[in-house]
C-alpha cells in the first residue's frame, strides 16, 4: 500500500518557528550591525543620526563619506582607501555633529549664551621665542543629512587680542567641492558684515604656520599618494620628536601610542599650487588620524614640521561615548624658525548648536 506523504503540522509549525527565530536572530544581528561603528572615529555619529547617515551613504548622497562606516582593509592596505578614510575624519571632525533638532534643544532647556563647544588658544612664536597669543570661540555644525547642499557651517569669534576682539568669521561650506565656500566677516570696527572671497589652499590661517590646506581645504585628489610602509612608535620616533623640540604634550601623545603601528604615506601635490612639493605623513589605523606630517620643497629640503596630539572627548549627549579631538597642534616652519601652537582645551561633540547661530543676524550682535 502506497503511503501518502503528508506534511505533518508539527513540521509546519517547527518550520515556521525556525523561520521566525532565524529572522529574529538575523534581524538582531542586522540591528546590531547598524549600531556598530567599524573603528574609533574622530567624531562618532550619534545614535540619533546614525540611521540617517547610513541611509544617505547607501543612497550615494554622502558617497565621499562612505569611509566613515567602511573600514579599509588593513591587512592588504590600499593607499587611496587609507587616504580617503583619513580625509573623512579630517572633514567630519571639522564640523561638530549637531542634531539639527531645535525641538530637542528646547525640550532640554539648553542655554547657548556664553557657552561654546570649541574654544581655542593659538600662539604664534618667533625664532626669539616671543609669543603672540589669540583666543577664540567656535561653533560648527554638520548639514550632511539635510537637503540644503551644505556640508557644514562654522562660526569663529575672536576673543583676543584687543585689536580683533569680537571679529567673527562665518563660513558656509558646500557638499559640492567645486563650489566656493561663502565667507562672511564681521569687524566690530566696520560695523558691517563683509563678504570675503574663499582663501587659497596656501593662504596662512590667521597669520599662523597652518594653511587653509592643513585646516579645511584638503581633498584626496589634490595629491598622488604612495604607501611607504609602516613604523612602530618607539624610541626612534620619540627621540626624533624630542630633537625637533616638539611640544611636550604632543610627545606625551606619542608616548601613549608607543608600540602602535602607523602607516607612512608620501603625498606629492599634482598641480603645484602650494609652496611645498610633497609631504610625508603618519597614519594611525585606530582612528585614521595623522599625528605627524613633514613637508618638503622641490629640492627635497624639509620646510615644515606639523605634529598633533589627540585626546578622547566624550559626547555631549552620551558621556559614555567619545570621539578623538585634536588637543594640540604644533607647527614649525623650519626655514623661518617661526612656529605655531594651537591648543583646544575644550571641545564638545554633538552639542546642539542652533541654526540661527550661523546667520548674518547673529554676526551683527557682536560688539
Amino acid at each position: 500500500m502506497k503511503r501518502t506523504k503528508r506534511l505533518s503540522p508539527i513540521f509546519l509549525l517547527g518550520g515556521l518557528l525556525t523561520f521566525i527565530m532565524a529572522s529574529v536572530l538575523l534581524n538582531c544581528r542586522m540591528v546590531k550591525a547598524e549600531e556598530e561603528i567599524p573603528y574609533e572615529l574622530t567624531v562618532q555619529p550619534s545614535k540619533m543620526i546614525l540611521p540617517a547617515l547610513k541611509k544617505a551613504i547607501k543612497e550615494g548622497k554622502l558617497d565621499p563619506y562612505k569611509y566613515l562606516l567602511k573600514k579599509p582593509d588593513l591587512e592588504h592596505p590600499n593607499v587611496m582607501e587609507l587616504v580617503k578614510a583619513n580625509w573623512c575624519q579630517f572633514k567630519w571632525k571639522f564640523a561638530v555633529v549637531g542634531t539639527g533638532d531645535d525641538e530637542l534643544q528646547k525640550k532640554e532647556g539648553i542655554r547657548y549664551k556664553g557657552f561654546c563647544p570649541i574654544c581655542g588658544i593659538a600662539s604664534r612664536i618667533n625664532r626669539r621665542g616671543e609669543k603672540r597669543e589669540s583666543a577664540m570661540n567656535r561653533w560648527a555644525k554638520n548639514y550632511h543629512l539635510t537637503d540644503t547642499g551644505y556640508d557644514f557651517k562654522d562660526l569663529s569669534v575672536f576673543l583676543s587680542p584687543e585689536d580683533i576682539r569680537n571679529m567673527s568669521i562665518m563660513v558656509w561650506d558646500y557638499m559640492d567641492i567645486t563650489k566656493d565656500q561663502d565667507s562672511f566677516l564681521w569687524l566690530p570696527s566696520l560695523r558691517k558684515v563683509r563678504r570675503i572671497a574663499q582663501a587659497e589652499k596656501e593662504d596662512s590661517f590667521g597669520g599662523m604656520d597652518l594653511t587653509y590646506f592643513d585646516m579645511v581645504l584638503r581633498e584626496p585628489d589634490d595629491e598622488d599618494h604612495k604607501l611607504l610602509g609602516t613604523e612602530v612608535v618607539g624610541d626612534e620616533l620619540i627621540n626624533q620628536l624630542k630633537k625637533e623640540n616638539t611640544l611636550k604634550d604632543v610627545i606625551d601623545y606619542f608616548e601613549e601610542m608607543r608600540g602602535s603601528k602607523l602607516f607612512v604615506i608620501e603625498s606629492k601635490q599634482k598641480r603645484g599650487f602650494l609652496s611645498w612639493d610633497k609631504r610625508v605623513w603618519w597614519l594611525d589605523p585606530r582612528n585614521f588620524r595623522d599625528p605627524r606630517r613633514l613637508f618638503y620643497d622641490k629640492a627635497g629640503r624639509l620646510v615644515k614640521i606639523y605634529n598633533l596630539g589627540f585626546r578622547k572627548t566624550p559626547f555631549y549627549w552620551d558621556r559614555s561615548k567619545y570621539g578623538w579631538s585634536e588637543d594640540w597642534h604644533h607647527v614649525q616652519n623650519v626655514l623661518t624658525g617661526h612656529s605655531t601652537i594651537v591648543y583646544l582645551p575644550r571641545l564638545i561633540f554633538d552639542y546642539p548648536v542652533p541654526d540661527s547661530r550661523f546667520t548674518i543676524r547673529y554676526l551683527r550682535r557682536m560688539k
Binding site: D163, W172, K179, A197, Q198, T359
Partner: protein
C-alpha cells in the same frame, strides 16, 4: 621744531611703559561683565605746505564695557577720554593766529558733544528675542557694502576734522536712536531705524587746517553763522527701513531712509552791525528721501580669476540740497541725484618678493549723476562768493587698494590706497602696520592729496601729512 620734538618725546615716554609692559592686561571677562578698549596716540605732521608743522597729537583712551544683564539683555557702554595736545604744545603755523580762539581748541582739543570726541561714544541696551533684535541708545548704524565713500552709510553724520583720513568707525557721530531687526526666517531680515537725535555733519571751522574751501572764506570778522538745529520733536524724527536676504553666495538689501540733509542749505539772512559789519548766513536743513540697495556676490570664477567677490550699492536721493549761481551770488536749490558703486575683491596668491604671502586687491568704481542737472549748479562746500565752482553732471571716482602681509606670523602689514577722481584729483594713502607685541600695533603712514584747488580732494593739496600711530589694546 625743538618744541615739537620735545612734545613727541614726552608722549613717547608716557606711552612706552604701557607698550613694553604688555603683560599687564586690564581687559577682563568676569561673570556677566566684559571690559575691553585701547589707548591710542596719533601724531600727524603736515608736510604739504612750505613748513612742517604738527596738526594733531591726539590721545584717546577708549573703554568698552558690556554687562550681560540676562541671557537676552545686554548693556554696552563705550566711553572715551580724549585730548589733542597740539593746541597746548604749539603756537606757530595755523595755530598761532587761532590759538587765542577758544572755540577751536574746545571743539577739537577736548571733549565736545556731538563729535567724535564725545565722552559717551556709545551707550545702548540690546534686547534679543526669538524673532527680534532691538538696540536702543546711542549707537552707530551702518548700511552699505562699499568702503571709503558714503552712499548708504548715511544714518550717522560725519565729523570731518581729519577730512577723509579717519576710519569711519571714528568719524561717525553717534546718535541716540533705536534699531529693530525682525527676522523672517533664518536669512531674511527687516530692519527699522528710528532717530530722534538729528545732527548734521561737523565741518571744521575757519582756521582749521581741514576747513573746506568755502569755509576758509568765512572769517568770523565778516560772517556770522546761525543754524536751525533740529530739536527732539516728533516731526523731526528720521526713520528708515532695510530689507535684507542672504542666499549663500548672493545677498542683497533694499533700503529707504527719510532724513534731514547732513550738509546745510545756506541762505543769506542780512547783516549784523554788533561788531562791525558782518553777513548773517543761516544754515537750514531739508528733508531728503534716500532710496537704494546693495548686494554682494561670491564667484568661483570671474573673468578668468578664481575666488572673486563682487559688491555694489546705489542710492537715489530725492529733494537733496545744492547751490546754483545767481545774479546775487548763489542760491540754494533742491535737486535729485543718483549714485552707485561697484567693487571687486580678489587676492593674488602667486608669491612675489613684494607680496610673499599674497596680495589682496580691491577695485571700486563710484559714479554720481545729477538727474536734473543745469549748467549753473555749483558745489556749495567748494564755492566762495568770488569764485564759484561748478559741478559736473556726472562725477567718477576710481579707487584701488592693495594689502599684503610680511614677516613670519604676518606681523607686518602693508596697505596702499590710490584714489583717482575726475579732473585729475588724487588721494594716495600708504600705511605700514607692525604688530610690536600681541597688544601693541604701531602704524606709520601718509596722506597725499593732489589736484586743482577747487576740487573736493584738491582743496586739501596743502595738507599732505605723515602720521605715526601707536595703539595699545587693553
Amino acid at each position: 621744531m625743538r618744541r615739537i620734538i620735545k612734545v613727541l618725546v614726552i608722549i613717547t615716554l608716557l606711552i612706552l611703559p604701557l607698550v613694553m609692559g604688555t603683560q599687564v592686561s586690564l581687559a577682563f571677562q568676569y561673570g556677566n561683565w566684559d571690559l575691553g578698549g585701547y589707548l591710542r596716540s596719533e601724531t600727524s605732521l603736515k608736510v604739504g605746505d612750505d613748513t612742517v608743522e604738527p596738526i594733531w597729537f591726539e590721545n584717546i583712551l577708549q573703554l568698552e564695557i558690556t554687562r550681560h544683564i540676562t541671557d537676552n539683555i545686554d548693556f554696552f557702554l563705550m566711553t572715551r577720554a580724549y585730548y589733542d595736545a597740539v593746541y597746548d604744545a604749539k603756537d606757530g603755523g595755523f595755530l598761532r593766529e587761532h590759538r587765542v580762539r577758544k572755540d577751536l581748541r574746545d571743539k577739537y582739543g577736548l571733549h565736545r558733544k556731538d563729535t567724535q570726541a564725545d565722552a559717551i561714544r556709545e551707550a545702548y541696551i540690546d534686547i534679543f528675542l526669538e524673532d527680534f533684535d532691538i538696540r536702543i541708545g546711542k549707537q552707530q548704524i551702518v548700511w552699505g557694502k562699499t568702503e571709503g565713500f558714503k552712499m548708504l552709510d548715511i544714518i550717522n553724520p560725519t565729523d570731518y576734522r581729519k577730512f577723509v583720513q579717519d576710519a569711519f568707525e571714528d568719524s561717525r557721530i553717534t546718535l541716540w536712536s533705536a534699531k529693530i531687526d525682525y527676522a523672517l526666517g533664518l536669512n531674511n531680515l527687516l530692519e527699522l531705524v528710528i532717530i530722534p537725535d538729528v545732527e548734521p555733519n561737523l565741518a571744521p571751522p575757519f582756521g582749521h587746517p581741514f576747513a573746506f574751501r568755502a569755509t576758509r572764506a568765512t572769517d568770523p570778522s565778516t560772517v556770522i553763522f546761525k543754524e536751525d538745529h533740529k530739536s527732539w520733536k516728533f516731526e523731526n524724527i528720521e526713520w528708515g527701513l532695510r530689507w535684507g536676504q542672504n542666499f549663500g553666495n548672493f545677498d542683497y538689501t533694499l533700503n529707504y531712509f527719510y532724513h534731514w540733509t547732513d550738509n546745510p542749505y545756506i541762505k543769506f539772512k542780512g547783516l549784523d552791525f554788533s561788531k562791525g559789519v558782518r553777513a548773517i548766513l543761516f544754515m537750514d536743513y531739508k528733508r531728503v528721501h534716500s532710496i537704494g540697495g546693495s548686494f554682494s556676490k561670491n564667484f568661483t570664477k570671474f573673468f578668468g580669476l578664481k575666488h572673486v567677490v563682487l559688491r555694489g550699492e546705489s542710492v537715489l536721493r530725492l529733494e537733496d540740497v545744492g547751490s546754483k549761481i545767481t545774479d546775487a551770488g548763489s542760491a540754494p536749490i533742491r535737486t535729485d541725484n543718483f549714485n552707485y558703486a561697484l567693487a571687486v575683491d580678489h587676492t593674488f596668491y602667486r608669491p612675489y618678493r613684494l607680496w610673499p604671502t599674497g596680495l589682496s586687491v580691491t577695485f571700486q568704481f563710484f559714479q554720481s549723476i545729477i538727474l536734473d542737472y543745469e549748467h549753473d549748479y555749483i558745489n556749495g562746500a567748494l564755492s566762495t562768493q568770488m569764485d564759484p565752482v561748478k559741478v559736473d553732471e556726472v562725477e567718477n571716482t576710481f579707487t584701488i587698494s592693495f594689502m599684503a602681509n610680511y614677516l613670519p606670523g604676518e606681523i607686518l602689514k602693508g596697505w596702499l590706497l590710490l584714489s583717482y577722481g575726475d579732473d585729475g584729483e588724487w588721494w594716495i594713502n600708504p600705511k605700514l602696520s607692525y604688530e610690536l607685541t600681541e597688544k601693541t600695533m604701531v602704524s606709520l603712514g601718509a596722506h597725499i592729496f593732489s589736484g586743482p584747488a577747487d576740487g573736493f580732494i584738491g582743496q586739501m593739496s596743502k595738507n599732505d601729512n605723515i602720521f605715526l600711530q601707536i595703539k595699545f589694546g587693553i
